[in-house]
């Protein structure tokens, strides 16, 4: 049993980073996630593990510092909230293009623009469809508890190094700000220089050795045919993710006629709604995607053969619902319920939406 603590989601992100052997965090303050860097600065991990924590001059600089640290074959991360992630999108695209690993945490707030500082899930498209320019995808993990804020930091690093691709933890202001019991991970030491060479020496810019070609971490290829080949490589990688990395949780789905699909905080609200619906005699279930990219399309497609309808519950105008519709492919009814701008839906609203849009609709 690991160390049990009562902590905020944002604080746990920081603690999990230190404990999983992260080499550097580069960030910039923005509500509602500033506790991540505040916790790190107060913890002074450079004294303990040698981890670097640096407050950058902007989100733009922070993500490019990650590009530098990742190029060295090191475990680097950043965190921000929606407007800051927009600023980072350029750098994330370059990292995806240069096949660099790294973890980006988005503690979402309402938008567009400055929007609100209250929780939201309106960055689903941005996170799961790339976000920046070009054909690329991030590995996107959606925690729904403070415990998963702890667990997914290490998982995100593991997947991002496995696929040489940036990974995102897409969470929201609720999970970031709320306190829950958490079992912290055990400490893993940071990689030594020798381990970096051993694990990542084949691609990282660790200094040109006489026995290898120089490492060039770039996203540039001016010959169209060569760039296309590189893109085909990316697509093959994403296909492999879709085959091997889909993660989801099902609750009361075995006999369900009606399925709510929800991630993050919406899944917790929806879980309550499932109970209420069952009390009312409706066989409801919850499918919670844990990886938003790769999306659990296959299980949804299989469920669509026998369920009577899906309701996508998201704190946005209807984004994930498009992926559900693609997965269902017309086999059954699909609708969306969401609140926007930082408003959190209640279980009662979700129950009503299910009754009116799916069951009675």
């Amino acid at each position: 049993m690991g160390e049990l603590r009562l902590m905020k989601g944002n604080e746990v992100i920081a603690e999990a980073a230190i404990r999983c052997g992260c080499d550097a965090y580069f960030g910039y303050p923005i509500t509602p996630q500033s506790e991540v860097m505040e916790t790190l600065m107060a913890r002074m991990p450079w004294e303990e593990t040698g981890m670097v924590v640096l407050q950058a001059e902007s989100e733009v600089a922070a993500i490019n510092m990650m590009y530098g640290g990742a190029s060295a074959g090191r475990k680097v991360m950043t965190s921000s909230s929606s407007p800051g992630i927009s600023l980072m999108s350029e750098g994330i695209s370059y990292m995806a293009g240069a096949e660099l690993p790294g973890v980006v945490v988005n503690v979402q707030r309402g938008g567009p623009g400055l929007g609100t500082i209250q929780p939201s899930q309106a960055d689903y498209f941005q996170a799961t469809k790339g976000g920046g320019h070009g054909d690329y995808n991030l590995i996107v993990l959606a925690p729904s508890s403070v415990q998963e804020m702890n667990d997914f930091v290490d998982l995100a690093f593991e997947l991002s190094f496995k696929y040489s691709n940036p990974a995102m933890i897409l969470t929201d202001g609720v999970i970031g700000q709320m306190m829950e019991k958490v079992e912290l991970s055990d400490f893993k030491p940071r990689w030594t220089d020798e381990q970096v060479e051993q694990f990542n020496g084949s691609w990282a810019a660790t200094g040109k050795k006489p026995n290898r070609e120089r490492a060039i971490k770039t996203s540039l290829e001016l010959v169209a045919e060569k760039q296309e080949k590189i893109n085909e490589g990316f697509q093959a990688k994403y296909k492999k993710m879709q085959e091997e990395e889909v993660r989801y949780e099902t609750i009361k789905c075995e006999d369900a006629d009606y399925i709510i699909v929800a991630f993050g905080v919406s899944s917790r609200i929806s879980q309550k709604a499932v109970d209420v619906l069952r009390e009312q005699g409706h066989k409801a279930g919850l499918l919670r995607p844990i990886t938003l990219y790769p999306f659990p399309s296959e299980i949804i497609n299989q469920m669509a053969d026998h369920v009577k309808g899906f309701l996508s519950v998201e704190m946005n105008a209807g984004q994930m619902v498009e992926d559900i519709r693609l997965a269902v492919n017309g086999k059954t009814k699909v609708d969306h319920f969401g609140r926007m701008g930082g408003v959190i839906a209640t279980p009662g609203e979700v129950v009503d939406a299910m009754l009116t849009k799916i069951i009675g609709g």
């Binding site: 550097a24 600089a61 530098g68 810019a205 200094g207 120089r214 971490k217």
Partner: protein, 271 residues
């Protein structure tokens, strides 16, 4: 004694100057007479002389020198436009023993990347920043740069840079020299053999500084872009001497180390 034949002189033991071993065999894609080539080989010569090929990592910019990584046989990172100092910072912070240098043009370093430039130097990052100022955007076809001279015609200031519309040429090197994190700030050129030798000394000092943890070393090289300026390389050098040097004077602006933090420390806030 018989007259010495050329074949007798051209022997390996008599070689006094040649291409650096750090330069690759890839032909430079630059236009004829471009200053980039000279500065590239000076960096290569310094890396060779200090014997730090395995410990050096470069950050290439966006601009004409975007493919600099094809020319120097070291490990490289290719940064987004303007972000080289942030990329260099990220690398250096996780690998403090390495020599890290960024190489940027005027649009990259002094327009889109101004924030990254100022803050990297202000933090006193122990990196080398090389800044090629040729007063134009070369890669995209000769548009006005932040450092374009007043009255200088470019494709986006076809009647000459007009201060009422475009403001003034930016002396970013002077701004950088004011920052307490700077150790060494100098402005050089490579248009004559003597200036090439001076510039190489400056680059060497900058690399040596980065091992001493004394702050950022920043080298501006006032350069030509004869294609962008639409004149030949020799005339470009002359134009640069007559028009750019009075505004961008050559020489060291700061030479020492970053300021002591005691100079600025404050008392603790008390309730």
């Amino acid at each position: 004694m018989a007259e010495l034949q050329i074949q007798d002189i051209i022997k390996p033991e008599n070689k006094v100057y040649g291409k650096s071993k750090i330069m690759t065999d890839t032909p430079l894609h630059y236009c004829y007479g471009c200053s980039h080539g000279v500065v590239h080989k000076l960096v290569a010569e310094v890396i060779e002389e200090l014997d730090i090929q395995e410990e050096t990592v470069g950050v290439a910019p966006v601009g004409c020198s975007v493919m600099m990584y094809n020319y120097l046989d070291i490990d490289w990172m290719e940064a987004a436009h303007g972000r080289a100092p942030a990329v260099a910072t990220g690398y250096k912070r996780v690998n403090p023993k390495k020599y890290v240098f960024s190489y940027q043009g005027d649009g990259d370093l002094a327009a889109i990347g101004t924030a990254e430039t100022m803050h990297a130097v202000n933090r006193g990052e122990n990196i080398v920043m090389i800044f090629i100022n040729n007063a134009i955007y070369g890669m995209t076809g000769g548009q006005m740069a932040p450092t374009t001279m007043i009255g200088q015609a470019t494709s986006t200031s076809p009647y000459g840079r007009n201060v009422d519309i475009n403001g003034y040429p930016l002396k970013i090197t002077e701004l950088v020299a004011h920052l307490p994190g700077a150790a060494y700030v100098t402005r050089q050129s490579v248009h004559t053999p003597a200036n090439v030798r001076k510039c190489k000394k400056a680059i060497k000092k900058a690399f040596e500084n980065s091992k001493k943890n004394i702050g950022t070393s920043f080298i501006e090289v006032v350069s030509t872009c004869n294609s962008g300026w639409k004149i030949d390389p020799v005339a470009a050098n002359k134009w640069m001497e007559e028009n750019m040097f009075p505004f961008y004077p050559l020489g060291d602006i700061k030479d020492g180390q970053r300021d002591s933090d005691e100079k600025y420390s404050v008392q603790k806030l008390k309730k």
